[in-house]
């Protein structure tokens, strides 16, 4: 099922992140998780927001924005929780391009966002191992 991540192209200079976050919040969306990848001249802001399609529509004139399907796998919020997820993907020979994590609203609830080369297989093997993955719908709640 996967979830949708937005990626924004930002210049690597002061003020850029403020503009981006301001634009997201002005459109009423909550950022559930985010990470930044940086190169010399530019950076990529990757974020999981509520109401993705609305945000993309609202921001596309102001920012270079793209959407990507990623896996959000649930894990516990304690030592060692991430390991089973990584091992499962490894056994299925899935490569992880990048990842970042966020905690949920409940106790002992955390998620890892995974950008993988084969999203269908990744979700299938995770679910088969009893690891829950989020969907856009489940994320909004």
């Amino acid at each position: 099922m996967a979830i949708t991540q937005i990626s924004l192209f930002l210049m690597n200079q002061p003020g850029q992140l403020v503009d981006a976050v301001e634009a997201i919040s002005a459109n009423g969306a909550n950022i559930r998780a985010m990470s930044i990848a940086e190169a010399n001249d530019f950076g990529i802001l990757r974020a999981i927001v509520t109401d993705t399609d609305h945000i993309i529509r609202q921001l596309k004139d102001q920012f270079l924005i793209t959407k990507t399907e990623v896996v959000a796998a649930r894990m516990g919020d304690q030592s060692g929780s991430l390991l089973p997820i990584l091992k499962t993907l490894n056994e299925a020979n899935i490569n992880i391009e990048y990842m970042y994590a966020f905690t949920g609203t409940g106790p002992d609830e955390a998620y890892v966002v995974l950008r993988v080369n084969d999203i269908i297989t990744a979700e299938a093997v995770l679910n088969a191992s009893g690891i829950q993955t989020l969907t856009d719908t489940s994320l909004k709640i």
């Binding site: 192209f9 010399n40 001249d41 990529i44 270079l64 391009e97």
Partner: protein, 435 residues
């Protein structure tokens, strides 16, 4: 010390020079009319025949030639003699589609080498000197031009070609080079390298340098003179007319004497093509008076400069041209390579980018830096950093292939390239090459 290579012509009275020019232009126009159908056609279109050209005053009746003509006529269209009479070609640095191939008879080479010999003697060169030529050899005119002149003067010639600075320095120190010939940026680099190796300016035997093929400033001249302990002389030329030596500086270092017995110079208004009065700034136009194989008449150099006809205290009577102060087209000279912004646009469009870009030129350690900022579009942007960086590298490779010189590419967000009055600023040149 010998002050002139050919004193009888270099210090000839003005009337004598004019006499020579008048005689040569009549002959040269006839030569072109008879042998270069391309130019004959241009003359016919303008309603001019060789009979209309009786002196250099009539040159303004002749049609111009531009780089576009050279491209149209590539490779043999402007050839003025049978190929069997030609002994060599030289070529420009060769940005794609605009390569110029110039042909030479033995006489053409001989006269060209006379010109560079005059420049070497003007820089103090005699048969006692050791001349290190580190202009590139090969298609580029720099190496062969100065090499030939050095032979004519009787100097010991070190045909080093460009690059391998360590070896350059070793030969320079071991063999006691006295005159260095290279681009000014390379001279500055050699100066820095010598200092880094612990040499002081007085440790070398250099006394003069003949530097050209790219724009440089008075400030750079002072820097080079100080770091190498020499007097630095400017030299000008272009492949289309022969190569370096069309004009050269004397000890006054105040303008370059044009070898007027071989080249007739005009300054025109680049917009109207009208000849401008002496002392006015405009585009430099050359007519070769002697060239047999590649006899260009009224060739527009696109270099903007001023002619100075006041007598020079060096004793030479030939007119002096200022350093080029700019270009009348949008051509950029980056590390000695000719670059047209339109070529960058072509690559961007071919690679699927929008043609929104900006070229930023600057100088670091006397070497040009060349950066191209390109706006990324939705089609190129990826959430994967590696993919974006591969795009940057890919674009760098494509640009290097097109231009013959590699820029650093920077991807920027859409609509971030500076626009002035709604029009994107394509070139920011911070090199301060013109005083």
């Amino acid at each position: 010390m010998k002050r002139y290579y050919q004193p009888e012509i270099e210090t000839a009275p003005r009337e004598k020079i004019l006499e020579i020019q008048n005689e040569k232009i009549v002959r040269q126009v006839r030569h072109v009319w008879d042998n270069v159908p391309y130019y004959r056609h241009l003359m016919e279109e303008k309603g001019v025949t060789p009979d209309d050209i009786k002196s250099v005053d009539d040159i303004r009746k002749l049609p111009f030639l531009s780089k576009a003509d050279l491209r149209d006529a590539y490779p043999y269209g402007l050839l003025g003699t049978d190929l069997k009479n030609c002994v060599r070609i030289q070529s420009t640095s060769g940005t794609t589609g605009r390569r110029v191939v110039a042909f030479y008879t033995q006489k053409d080479i001989d006269l060209w080498e006379d010109c560079t010999a005059r420049a070497i003697v003007a820089a103090g060169g005699t048969e006692e000197d050791v001349v290190q030529v580190c202009y590139g050899y090969g298609l580029f005119t720099g190496g062969p031009g100065l090499h030939g002149g050095s032979h004519k003067v009787g100097c010991l010639t070190l045909p080093m070609s460009s690059g391998n600075t360590e070896r350059q320095i070793q030969f320079m120190m071991d063999l006691g080079t006295t005159i260095l010939c290279c681009t000014p940026s390379y001279a500055a680099y050699i100066g820095e390298s010598l200092a880094e190796q612990g040499y002081k300016p007085e440790d070398n035997k250099l006394k003069a340098g003949i530097f050209g093929a790219e724009p440089w400033t008075e400030e750079m001249r002072r820097q080079i003179e100080k770091s190498l302990g020499i007097k630095a002389y400017d030299i000008y030329g272009l492949t289309e007319t022969s190569g370096p030596g069309v004009s050269f500086e004397c000890e006054e270092q105040n303008g370059m004497h044009i070898n007027e017995d071989h080249f007739y110079a005009e300054i025109i208004d680049p917009e109207t093509g009208e000849v401008l009065p002496d002392g006015e700034k405009g585009e430099l136009v050359f007519t070769s008076l002697d060239k047999e194989a590649f006899p260009l008449l009224r060739y527009r150099t696109r270099d903007i400069c001023v002619l100075n006809r006041t007598p020079c205290s060096c004793g030479r009577t030939h007119v002096r041209m200022s350093k080029p102060m700019g270009r009348s087209d949008d051509m950029l000279i980056i590390r000695g390579v000719n670059v047209f912004p339109s070529q960058i646009e072509t690559v961007l469009l071919k690679e699927g980018y929008t043609p929104n870009y900006q070229i930023v030129l600057d100088r670091e350690r006397n070497t040009d830096t060349f950066d191209v900022y390109v706006e990324v579009g939705p089609d190129q942007f990826s959430d994967l950093m590696g993919q974006n960086q591969r795009m940057e590298k890919g674009l760098e490779t494509a640009l290097r292939t097109m231009l013959g010189i590699g820029p650093k590419v920077h991807l920027v967000a859409p609509k971030t390239i500076t626009r002035s009055e709604g029009k994107a600023v394509r070139v920011i040149d911070r090199r301060k090459l013109h005083d």
